[in-house]
Amino acid sequence: MSKNKSQPDSTVCKPGSQVIVDMLIEQGVEVIFGYLGGVVLPLFDKLYDAPIKFIIPRHEQGGCHMADAYARATGKTGVVIATSGPGATNLVTGLATAMMDSVPLVAITGQVRTSLIGNDAFQEADTTGITRPVTKHNVIVKDPNDLAQTIREAFYIAQAGRPGPVLIDMPVDMQLAECPIPPKAKIELPGFRIQYKGHARQIAAAATAINASKKPVLYVGGGCIISGASEALRAVAKKANIPVTTTLMAMGAYDQNRPESLDMLGMHGSAYANYAVQQSDLLISVGARFEDRVTGNLETFAPHAKIVHIDLDPSNIGKNLHVDIPVVGDAREVLEQMLEALEYKPRKEWFEQIAAWKASHPFTYDKNADVVKPQYVIEEVCRQTGGDAIITTGVGQHQMWAAQFYKYSQPRQFITSGGLGTMGFGVPSAIGAQIACPDRVVIGIDGDSSFNMTLTELSTAVMYDLPIKIVLINNGFMGMVRQWQELFYGRRYSQSSLKNPDFAKVAEALGCVGITVDKKDQVAGAIEKMLKQTKPCVVDFRVDPEENVWPMVPAGKSLHEMDGLDIFEMA
């Protein structure tokens, strides 16, 4: 190893496993989620003495979701470690989930020693090959001289620009080799440039369009949460007087209790958000990407609107639809840059129209039903927590109801798998969020099918004394596919129901508190009891099995062509 002449003594050499730990400490890592295995033993031996909290999940996928939720709850980079082969492949779903929702993660996987790579060795898998499409970047360390810098670069890349997961594959011989730690220097990656500031001319054009607009809508995505744009967003919405709708990924980016909030838009969005978008003359997209669940039929999406698209990732702009005023830049920076040029316009008619839609088409359900309605459970959770809990979810109907009936007021308060739609995200994400925010109430709103996939992680919550609460919306179905089968397949419920265990007993067996609720008048009391628990607690709400999520824009339809609006007449 040739030493840098100007700094002859500054390069220290240590075993790679120790260098990994040193680099994690240098990066400010406070907690690691991970699972042991043969080729990561050298690393785990060094972690034994490291001042880093370690959480062992019951399955690597759970660990990856925990690291993901930790990152979403804090904005810091989540770290997950797994062994080679099956350990690494078990991370794939977690990495893909983080990739789709732009979550900064660093995953370190063990690998067989370099001389065995390609020989089909025990627990060998082509981890970089397998994870390439589900990571922002991945790399295998094959030279001890590269080890330290590779870790620094991984943390940099995970956070830089649009965040995402970065995987480092670490052969066991690299962990054992003497590796130098070069002095810390600014990271320079050729060609890797991120444009945080928006172009002044584009921002001026956007501001002019906003000032001229009679019916503008701010359409806000997860980018606003990542960039910490809530305050800037509030300032822009207030100064220019614009209603705000958020995507599923942006719940909490804008306080839903404010009158100008239109709540969520899209397939299961509010009628008033969808109508507003369809009638708007200017749609200002901030950190969102015009995904199909948001837009419905693109041909007829926001047909009267000019589109302003603010996004840090240039490839998002113009990917799905034509944009009139593209602005490449960070959501917060661009909004702050824009604020000065915005003018207040009363837009009386527009806000009156919106108020009328809100009055006639709120999110609602049959409140007189005798059965337990899932929406009621979530409303009650919101009421009893004062809208202040951190909510995580699985994927399906319960996820949509959690978005519709809990009112979010803070960013990073709602943690859900939006892009990939990963069932089973609920329990591990509640654990990750609780570790990130030990003093907050963390509630995993889960469905029975999602819960079945990862309920084993309740043991992890018990082991680390994490008082997570699981609100189980148990309808005995894979509810969302059942809803589609009801609506589009003539109620032929092919393979969409499960024989569930007694979840309260399962929870008790795992060391949690388990409660079962099957009557409407038990709901409030059960939630009250749940919120008092210091142990992990699962409340199994046996809800109306065939309740549907309304409104619904059927796939391929226009955003204003919502089904299920007739239920509003019951309200």
Binding site: R132, P133, K136, H137, I140, I157, D313, P314, G318
Partner: protein, 164 residues
């Protein structure tokens, strides 16, 4: 429309897989791909030829730039470029036919690189359409086998605007 994307990448293992994988994952088609080192040993150049409308090509360019090891992407469309393919072709050729085939090779600025009693192997470099024309003219004699590189291209330094 055909676009030539001259793509400068870090000369590291796995970069080709990252680039090719991105094309596959996003359902973009590669017409041809040629990779080689540059004068700087840390960098390679990929010359990627794609066919698509402006929207597709714009996405391809943006997605390429997002790959961490991609340093720079240049779309040569609308520029005066020198674009060349290289081909080795083995043509059936008995001694009687040699004079005509040799004349043909000369016309195309090709080079005879191997010859036997029943065949002749030729190296031809040039724009794609010239290569295609040469193949067409060889067909009547019997083409035994063809090996072609993808296009490599460089913009002319003189900045004279010409038609594509």
């Amino acid at each position: 429309m055909k676009h030539i994307l001259s793509t400068l990448v870090l000369n590291k293992p796995g970069v080709l897989a990252n680039v090719a994988g991105m094309f596959a994952a996003r359902a973009f088609n590669i017409d041809s791909l040629a990779v080689g080192r540059t004068d700087d040993p840390t960098l390679s150049r990929m010359t990627i030829v794609i066919v698509g409308d402006d929207k597709v090509v714009e996405q391809v360019r943006k997605q390429l730039v997002k790959i961490v090891e991609v340093v720079k992407v240049q779309d040569f469309v609308g520029q005066d470029v020198v674009a060349r393919d290289l081909m080795l072709v083995s043509v059936a050729c008995n001694p009687e036919k040699r004079p005509e085939i040799l004349a043909l090779i000369e016309m195309f600025g090709g080079k005879v690189v191997d010859i036997g009693p029943k065949f002749i192997m030729v190296e031809v470099a040039g724009p794609e359409n010239k290569i295609e024309a040469f193949i067409d003219l060889c067909r009547p004699y019997g083409v035994k086998s063809i090996v072609r590189t993808g296009t490599v291209a460089m913009a002319r330094q003189t900045r004279t605007k010409t038609e594509e």
